[in-house]
Symmetry: C2
Subunit: 123 residues, 2 copies
DNA sequence: TCAATTAGTTTACTTTTGGTAACCACTCAT
DNA sequence: ATGAGTGGTTACCAAAAGTAAACTAATTGA
């Protein structure tokens, strides 16, 4: 089965006792994946970077409901996971852009699917 | 463009003032979608229901790290969004199963993609 | 000179989340 | 009678997450 997780199921022994085979002892891969792109505003940030570098305040303007602190926090998380790179394009006046890495871009498929699903279901 | 959101971008006027076109005033569709399937354990729960009805305690056993309270809470959320149905299959002793609705099943595509991505990247 | 821009940081909160553990009423097997 | 099972509920607590608003220092345009 390679890296993939085995399916978990419940078994009942001769005494009627239940036992689960292949329990998720640690968060399973779905859970782990969610923790990479499922944070509040994380998906939106990645999606708004899809067409190329964007500057901090522009991003903040695009994401109407999110505070700067949030955006800053999320960008730092994304940077630490190598999903986004931060580039200073100018000192005085300071100018910074954020851009998706290849890994960051690889999440776009999921986000596009999510977006379509979400819109289709008028969620 | 139908139901889909327009792309947002930043415009600079003659005086150099920035203005964002198509701001996300409310959480955009990615954000909304995430709030349906991105809660802690939500994706895992949906995924573990993919092969048919599962009983509460069996689900609790499969999801090693999650408390009953969490699972209960998530199941109620999912029920309220018509992603899962709860069926009492027996009084005394009480027995209940949870099952995906069609809408719940429609989320599986996204979760499968997320799972694959997560495993591929050894996240 | 005043206002706005840059990219954040800091403060001072409030709100939400999550976890543990005990408990309920009931049944069943030993 | 005891312990384990059913499917939850409840109370309490700690920690995390999220908020708005003010502030930094420097620059630029009117």
């Amino acid at each position: 089965m390679g890296i993939a997780e085995k399916k978990s199921f419940v078994e009942t022994d001769a005494y009627g006792r239940k036992k689960v085979i292949n329990v998720c002892l640690e968060p399973c891969s779905i859970e782990k994946g969610m923790r990479l792109i499922g944070g509040k505003w994380t998906g939106s940030i990645i999606y708004h970077l899809k067409d190329g570098p964007v500057r901090f305040n522009d991003l903040a303007r695009m994401l109407g409901g999110a505070s700067k602190k949030m955006i800053d926090q999320r960008l730092k998380e994304l940077e630490s996971r190598d999903m986004v790179t931060r580039t200073v394009i100018n000192d005085r006046p300071i100018a910074v852009t954020y851009e998706l890495t290849d890994f960051g871009q690889s999440a776009l498929d999921i986000l596009e699917l999510l977006k379509g699903w979400s819109e289709k279901n008028k969620v």
